[in-house]
Amino acid sequence: MYSREFLEQLYRTLYTIRVFETECIKLYRQGLIIGYFHPYLGEEAIATGVCAALRKDDYIVSTHRGHGHCIARGGELKKMVAEVLGREVGYCRGRGGSMHIADVNIGNIGANGIVGGGIPIGVGAGLGISIRGTDQVVVIFFSDGACNNGVFAESLNLAAIWDLPVIFLLENNQYAVSSPIEEMSRIPDLYRRAEGYGVPAYPVDGNDVLVVYEKTKEAIEACRNGKGPVMIEAKTYRHGGHHVNDPGLYMPRDRLEYYKSKDPVALGRKYLLEKTKCTKQEAAAIEQQVQKAMEEAIEFAKNSPEPSVERFLEEVEQN
């Protein structure tokens, strides 16, 4: 039922995110990337499945853990690497960095350094759509910690009473830094909070790209047909600490192993091999292409110029 092309594309995206994060962590260790860097490792299936169901003219709102969203939404590796290296040719001209990559032109409203800060912004994109009367939709990505920022409840309610085409996409990786969701909510199934606001909500396996894709497609249909918002809770788990420098020792090993055994990238590869005629060699070829693209992006970024301080100061004068 899925075309080979489609499953190849899914796998290519899953693998690209995996490679991007893995390579950037190396750059971080080499001191080439500074500041905060929050890897999406282990959560690749969510951004991949969701964005595969979107149209070019739809919008997403990303988070501080946003590289996967950007890549799945069609972001360019070169501009991304350049940005995390703080270069002028980066997405934000080196001014934003990892936590602020945005490109409205490809429908990525952007990452955010304020946990939950992007949720109302996504609602606003949905409000604009409903005023214009088009059938675009918005997907707001956020994780369990953000559910405890009051704007989550406020925004859920706004989207509900205004019947906005907004999908609240909860990436429940079960931690806010080191705080387990069990300690931060009596009911760890956070999708249940949506019921009280009259918003239909569903839990899904966040490590299975096809499950995520199908559920998102359904939700998008409902949104395009003016049924109003939907909340999807994708259960997942980080493959490491909160950020590059967090060893994540508080994550129970067995739990971590269990989720690694459900590796979303491996599963995507499995689907490609089992559901299509794609051979191991052909899959390996995709992986090599991705690796190569990433190497080129890193070379490009490393050799690209730093922003000019003089020019920056001129721009400041105009503020």
Binding site: Y59, V61, G90, Y91, C92, R93, G94, R95, G96, H100, A102, D103, V104, N105, I109, G110, N112, G113, I114, G117, I119, P120, I121, G122, V123, G124, A125, G126, L127, G128, I129, S130, I131, R132, G150, V151, E154, S155, N157, L158, I161, W162, N319
Partner: protein, 337 residues
């Protein structure tokens, strides 16, 4: 020049209320540009607590005139998101005191988005809000908080004192491609003034000399301009000719207008309703002492709000913010009289 038109008695000029001028500005901009819409508490059927949005629901319908729940942070954030994606929202926060709930969306999101995105994104949003004391509304409904926004790179700050300025500036604010804090004063809504029939806009960043004089310069904004002008009348009777500068917009600041006037009068009094400590007046004083040091004949006098939350009792409330007498006193002091 703006002044002349506002003061012209031409056929085309009527006297209308400040709130009516704002209503006209919203109406005209919504007719002109269908991406403009208005959001706020009770702004639809009820027409807003200060009647600024009366009649807009009938003309533009519930899609563009939107009543909001008490979710200030999120509907403001919704304004930011709509602006980023091609709309021109005018978000109303009924009291600037409640804007304390939306600081993240204004300061961390709206004000910084253009910069953080390397210029890829813009946030053409207007945040209309209302502040100041004088109606016995006490500490949580009477604050003057422009200083917070003035201190935030990426925001423009507008604080008009007349119906004419209010209309022209709100229209420009709506057309501006960056976030604008448009701060109204609760005592001004029912004040009247001349406003032309014909369309006009007023450039953000252009102060206005509301009264000419050679002895001393008074810089003020919002409701304090009216108080400064009545003080100026009394001072004129004492033979003191005051130049009253209405900044109209705090960001951009019309520094040149202030400096030219001070270089002429050599005496400066700055009047602000906000608390003295850390207010905008202090910043203006710091600029003038640096750039007109040798012209100043006396220390710059700041007349400002007392270091207290606004009290409920009417006498204490009055004692908390600058009155005509305080301004007169300051002018005489700066002139060593």
């Amino acid at each position: 020049m703006s002044e002349d038109r506002s003061k012209s008695d031409g056929q085309d000029v009527r006297r209308i209320m400040f709130r009516e001028a704002l209503n006209e500005a919203l109406r005209e901009e919504m007719r002109r540009d269908e991406t403009v819409f208005v959001m706020g508490g009770g702004i639809g059927q009820r027409g807003g607590s200060y009647k600024v949005t009366v009649g807009l629901l009938d003309e533009f319908g519930p899609r563009r005139i939107i009543d909001t729940p008490i979710s200030e942070a999120s509907f403001t954030g919704a304004g930011v998101g709509a602006a980023i994606t091609g709309m021109r929202p005018v978000v109303e926060i009924l009291f600037i005191d409640f804007a304390s709930l939306i600081i993240d969306q204004i300061v961390n999101q709206a004000a910084k988005y253009r910069f953080m995105s390397g210029g890829r994104g813009r946030v053409p949003m207007v945040l209309r809000t209302q502040g100041g004391s004088g109606n016995g509304l006490a500490a949580q409904h009477s604050q003057s908080l422009e200083a917070w926004y003035y201190h935030t790179p990426g925001l423009k700050v507008v604080m008009p004192s007349t119906p004419y300025d209010a209309k022209g500036l709100l229209k420009s604010a709506i057309r501006d491609n960056d976030p604008v804090m448009f701060i109204e004063h609760k005592l001004l809504y029912m004040t009247e003034g001349p406003v032309p029939q014909d369309e006009y806009t007023i450039e953000l960043g252009a102060g206005d000399i509301k009264r000419r004089g050679n002895d001393v310069t008074i810089v003020a904004w919002s409701n304090m301009v009216l108080r400064a002008l009545s003080a100026a009348e009394k001072l004129a009777q004492q033979g003191i000719e005051t130049e009253v500068i209405d900044l109209r917009t705090l960001v951009p600041l019309d520094k040149q207008l202030i400096l030219e006037s001070v270089k002429k009068t050599e005496h400066l009094v700055i009047v602000q309703e906000a608390v003295r400590r850390g207010g905008v007046a202090s910043d203006i004083a710091s600029i003038v002492q640096a750039e007109a040091f040798d012209f100043l004949d006396a220390p710059i006098e700041i007349v400002a709000g007392k270091n207290t939350p606004i009290p409920f009792n009417v006498h204490l409330e009055r004692a908390s913010v600058p009155q005509e007498g305080d301004i007169i006193e300051a002018v005489r002091k700066v002139l060593h009289l």
